[in-house]
Symmetry: C2
């Protein structure tokens, strides 16, 4: 962790969770890291914790990472590239929307990136050197990006543990539109429409079951950040919305025309795709689901999970479906299919009411 006079030099602009984690990861690999942030208290804290060793952007720097909010990335990257003549310099960013940035920063030393990590924790205090271990890091090269820039940055990211995937900025933006941005608009629209229908008697939304709660959960978050993100990725979001409107219209027309096959086909292909969604330790077909009735009392969850622990059963997924009066609910537990019968019997023996799904 000591830096020699010959160590490579990086500068990180913006010391939030991602920026500070990059600084820590580089530091742990022998880099000398400086950094800056628009918030002086964050800079002071980063210096105190030795996340950075200084704040000056020097001409000798090998790598500049712009880890600011998306709206100011292009301007900062352009300024840095104009200020530093070093032909071997690599400048990258970590913004969640890439198209507008890569079209504005037209320099062979720039390569846009988006690490798919870290949204669970926020700020400098959540930063960790190992945040990017086994994380997918999207790079979005353009025709302008030099091969040297690409291979240099690729090597650095591999060094700190990331799995690098290169796609076009447009493909990236289309994907995050449908997988992240549009879902916020959908959740909000569903919630607003349900409120309108239940307006006369809002308590009737008690009728809403777990599926509705799942689908509107993200609508409860702070909306403040979303207009910026949505406008930043406007083209892709607009295209995704239009495509979804089209899909809903097709289903509506199928209902009106009695085309049962169209409805079933759509639901079947969605079920197949959802079950294949990557990112689980086990494939869906290796998991089995137990439903366990529980009361809303301290300790009940511990009894269930302690039993799992005692039997070396890993709970891969867990969810509480609350009773509509809030007096208890049902635990939905995903466990290894080979263990679920044994675990179900153990829970039954403890007096829980268990159903297999």
């Amino acid at each position: 962790m000591t830096t020699s006079p010959n160590s490579r030099r990086a500068h990180v602009v913006g010391l939030g969770l991602i920026g500070a984690s990059i600084a820590l990861a580089l530091r742990d690999h022998g880099w000398s890291v400086t950094g800056s942030d628009s918030d002086d208290t964050i800079v002071a804290s980063a210096l105190e914790r030795a996340v950075i060793t200084g704040t000056a952007l020097t001409p000798e720097v090998d790598l500049v990472v712009v880890a600011t909010p998306a709206g100011v990335v292009a301007k900062i990257a352009i300024d840095v590239l104009a200020k530093l003549a070093n032909p071997d310099l690599v400048v990258t960013d970590v913004a969640g929307v890439k198209g507008s940035i890569v079209s504005l920063v037209r320099d062979e030393r720039f390569l846009g990136g988006h690490p798919m990590a870290g949204s669970e924790l926020r700020g400098l205090s959540g930063a960790r050197a190992d945040l990017f271990q086994e994380t997918t890091w999207v790079l979005t090269p353009t025709d302008r990006t030099s091969p040297t820039t690409y291979s240099t940055l690729h090597g650095i990211l591999r060094e700190i543990g990331a799995n690098v995937v290169a796609i076009s900025a447009d493909d990236h933006d289309r994907l995050v539109a449908i997988a992240s941005h549009v879902p916020h608009l959908l959740a909000g629209s569903l919630m607003n429409e349900a409120s309108r229908v239940a307006e006369q008697d809002a308590v009737l939304l008690q009728l809403a079951a777990g599926g509705f709660r799942d689908m509107t959960r993200i609508a409860a978050g702070d909306p403040g950040i979303w207009p910026d993100i949505l406008f930043e990725n406007r083209d892709a979001v607009v295209q995704s919305l239009e495509a979804l409107e089209g899909r809903l219209r097709t289903l509506r027309e199928a209902l009106l025309e009695d085309e049962r096959d169209v409805i079933l086909e759509s639901l079947l292909s969605a079920a197949s795709a959802r079950r294949q969604l990557p990112g689980r330790a086990l494939r869906t077909e290796d998991l089995a689901y137990l439903r366990v009735k529980v009361s809303d009392e301290p300790g009940v969850l511990a009894r269930v999970t302690r039993s799992a622990s005692d039997l070396s059963v890993n709970i891969y997924d867990i969810e509480i479906a609350h009773g509509i009066e809030g007096t208890g609910g049902t635990l939905l537990l995903a466990v290894d299919a080979q263990q679920y019968q044994m675990f179900g019997e153990a829970l039954s023996a403890l007096g829980f009411q268990v159903a297999h799904e």
Copy 2:
């Protein structure tokens, strides 16, 4: 639980979870209960478990509950009403879609109903006498329903513990369309559109975070039952789809026209409505959320929940957000706001990485 010769008599058609639970609840309140099912093994099992005492529908019956799939309810109810002349007879059903049934069964002795309970467990084996305790039970009287029918059924349902709410069949159907039926179509459409966008490289759906998983979770279920339900409630589902298409179009146009206020306003009203969604033991503002990094190993969940139990902290909601490589994830725990700091510190002391939301 013994039945006297003078006990009231009920007959339940369809001995699934709801039908059998109604039979048990009535039996425990001194009713004499007979029943039938299209599946002979279920009838045998119900007789063996004393859920019913016989299978004959006799003219002396006071109450007939039709607890079959929605598609055959109207025919069975009409047959029963034609067969039995008793003017004090009450016939009801428990189907999840009401409009078509109440418009077909035109008899003052009929009153449609929909108990909002029990979807977590299925079949006769899940039946419980107390299933309807504190459960909302929607009744959908029409102009034709006699006041006596209404007050009799209302009294019986109160007796077995349900909270009765009366709304029109159309209002009921509109509400379940937007809160239950349309969400299935939305989840499927979102999943299908994401698959299409990621078609070239499906692994890119690794980029999909927890919100996307939440919103598409119900799409993974067995689609088989849904065409029937959707066609049963076609009018309301079509109206809801049209309304949602309109809301998405409005948001899309606002993006194109740079109307940031329209976007923000929509997200703000949805956030407010979602936070007020009833059905929690505590109001949202009384809950605080802890995020805890966990590994995918047996026992880790037990350590967290045992700690909660030791400190008498009740976990009101729990969710695992998996890391995109499936190697561990983040627990999202909703706890009483007054306990969350203490609990967070206890978990930190146990070596967990905790973030407050």
